[in-house]
Amino acid sequence: MRNTYLWFLQLITGILIAVLLGIHMALMHLDVILGFFGVDATKATSWESMIERSNQGIWAGLYIALLAVVLYHALNGLRKVILELTPSARAERVTTWVIVAFGIVTFVWCSYVPIALLSA
């Protein structure tokens, strides 16, 4: 039932992304509206704001969690799309391993950066 578990995980990560990425989008793009609620999110992409976030463990944790769920959901989806084009059995195996390798490398690199900056 391996594919059943993979699909069920796609659902769970989908829901988690809807929550986490929703917050991320709101903080990045809704500064005027959030201002009505008293949340100051202006200049979220400025250098000072980023330095401040890099020093807080909660942000690093949230970003790494978001990265993990997004990478799983997106790469599993990509694998499904490629498999629906019916490549040969060998091409299917190659695709799966390339995607898994890419996912692991990306996750390790992109979570190393916030952790390194946390201690810097």
């Binding site: 039932m1 594919n3 499904k80 498999l83 629906e84 084009l85 019916t86």
Partner: protein
């Protein structure tokens, strides 16, 4: 819509023995009210070009032979009236996603083989009773309702033509096989979930269905294969995360002597 206003049938022709390329051929068919596309094709075959090949049998939407793409939508030719298109030109093509043998005839052997691969029959452990039956298996009317809709499939192949995944994925089982898999798993007389799930859990099985819903939209018998497939997914997920109990297949029905209460014989009205 009379003899003076014939309908133009643009039919896709393909003759593997003479030319290699499918092309369209136009025929003028006199039409009348209530005439179906199948009537038009039979008129062409009888009067205009007897080499036109197409499948037909019951002419009443129960055998599933005459599925074809009429004006870019899959219909059963016997079940589709020329009048419903409100057009003087009809384009008739064979069903897509199935290999073409000749003209409008498609190869259904791969389609039937896929259907067989999900074991479309009751699977049970009691070989003795199955081999030498003593009574029927008990099935209440509400248990029948859980899968009755999906038994109306006539295996016409129209859902395969509508499915976007079947368009590109040659190994995909297709909405027909998947909905028949659910029809048997949901049947309370059947105990074969464990044998069927590995077949549909494969890399090209039920998880490549993404609920486009075109199969249910195009189905000429209202079978709603999309509903069956989503219920199959629900069943597979609940088994995988161990939620909900699997029901034992129903045993043989008790004989009427045990179930029907003995009614008292009524009084004679004439003494």
């Amino acid at each position: 819509m009379d003899e003076n206003n014939p309908i133009i049938f643009k039919v896709q022709r393909y003759d593997p023995e003479h030319d290699g390329i499918p092309h369209f051929q136009e025929f003028m068919v006199p039409s009348s009210r209530y005439m179906t596309v199948l009537d038009g094709l039979l008129y062409i075959k009888e009067n205009l070009d007897s080499s036109l090949a197409f499948r037909t049998s019951c002419r009443m939407a129960i055998c599933g032979s005459c599925g074809m793409l009429i004006n870019n939508y899959p219909h059963l030719a016997c079940h589709t009236q020329i009048e419903e298109f409100h057009s003087d030109t009809l384009t008739v093509k064979p069903l897509p996603n199935l290999p073409i043998i000749k003209d409008l005839v498609v190869d259904l052997i791969p389609f039937f083989n896929t259907h067989k691969s999900i074991k479309p029959y009751i699977l049970r452990q009691d070989a003795g009773e199955m081999g030498n039956p003593t009574a029927e298996y008990a099935q209440e009317p509400h248990a029948l309702e859980a899968f009755l809709q999906f038994t109306y499939c006539i295996k016409c192949g129209i859902c395969i033509s509508a499915c976007p995944t079947s368009a590109s994925d040659r190994l995909f089982l297709g909405p027909q096989a998947l909905s028949q898999c659910y029809r048997y798993c949901a049947d309370n007389r059947d105990g074969g979930e464990k044998e069927r799930f590995p077949v549909v859990d494969s890399d090209h099985g039920v998880w490549h269905c993404h609920l486009a819903g075109a199969c249910s939209e195009a189905c000429p018998k209202g079978v709603d294969p999309a509903l069956a497939i989503q219920l199959l997914k629900r069943r597979m997920v609940s088994r995988a995360v161990a939620l909900g109990k699997k029901q034992q297949p129903s045993s043989t029905a008790p004989s009427p002597a045990e179930t029907k209460p003995k009614l008292p014989f009524p009084e004679f009205t004439v003494k």
